[in-house]
Symmetry: C2
Subunit: 199 residues, 2 copies
Amino acid sequence: MVVKRRLGTESARNRQLLVEAAERLMVEEGAAAITSRKVAEKAGLKMQLVYYYFHTMDDLIVEVMREHAAKRLKGFVRALAAKDPFKALWEMNRDRSSANFNTELLALANQRERVRAELVTRACEFRALQIEAVDRLLAERGVDREQVPAGAIVTIIGALTRAMAQDRAYGVDDGYDEAVALVHKALEWLAAKEATSQQ
Amino acid sequence: MVVKRRLGTESARNRQLLVEAAERLMVEEGAAAITSRKVAEKAGLKMQLVYYYFHTMDDLIVEVMREHAAKRLKGFVRALAAKDPFKALWEMNRDRSSANFNTELLALANQRERVRAELVTRACEFRALQIEAVDRLLAERGVDREQVPAGAIVTIIGALTRAMAQDRAYGVDDGYDEAVALVHKALEWLAAKEATSQQ
DNA sequence: GTCTATACTTCGATAGAC
DNA sequence: GTCTATCGAAGTATAGAC
């Protein structure tokens, strides 16, 4: 396992085709559909090329995760620059294909140790970024972050959007409008309470 | 596919062994580990017996889901009878193995139509029960259910517990204590606000 | 009800020619 | 870099003897 004989070539055209095919399979048919044969077929290539560019299927999947995380990060930066960053963050988090992607990753992570490790790394990294950004937003709006910590908001929004995306994937989205309305209301009231209690 | 020739026997000892083995595999090794060979091995039986008691693997899995749902329902009724039903509901929802079980089901549902159908049926059924129960609890406490609808609370608690269980499964539980504290605080304030605004 | 034996499929991965 | 050819493991499912 340690010594690998075959070549892996970086930044070649076919390699990129394979990664993109795998990413599409993940969203469209689920992680279970990412097999060497299906990925190659979707990319219009021969199955053996998968093993030319990646030593194992794990390597392919980890690469897909990296590229997906990079895209997500760009979207995050864009959201922060929007007029209403909270809304933009919310919308971004509830993006369907991205959330679907994450659901599949959760399943994969239960079977593949390397996927689990990569998932944890990316999740913590992204979470830290989100907390930092939300904390700054709260400070700008004069909210007491001891009463309403950024970590809590990020966690609640993340949980709601993730659960909603999962439920929608099999055709259920009851309750989320109500829940979101309640969260908004609660955040407003909390902010107002803090504002008045400081005066 | 429609006509099935072989026999399936109800309520036999080995059948129950197989269902229990499958359920343990689901929690311990993930849904992907539920194969005819592994289930039989875990049950100490021959692989072919799986196909004697269940026409297909889908049938086995659906049976596992049914028995799991039945257990869950019993736990729910028990939680409602507790001194602090809200807390009991929360604790029940965050039960690890049950939540883990659900995470695996989500993945399976993306691949197997019958699992998806069964999952939706059980989820809606359970959700309706929870809403009914929470609504009654809110009424007893004099909370205005127009401002704080039971559906929203059930959704938020469900999303938080599900996300927390998923994250914990791969070793992350940052933020949930904060989030839960904020939810508790928000619920209290909402209730208080309603109480005063009614007077 | 349970066993032996087996058909068929798909998977990950590799060897070696070109 | 890409192809033909191939292995061995594991999966679902069935036939038929006992």
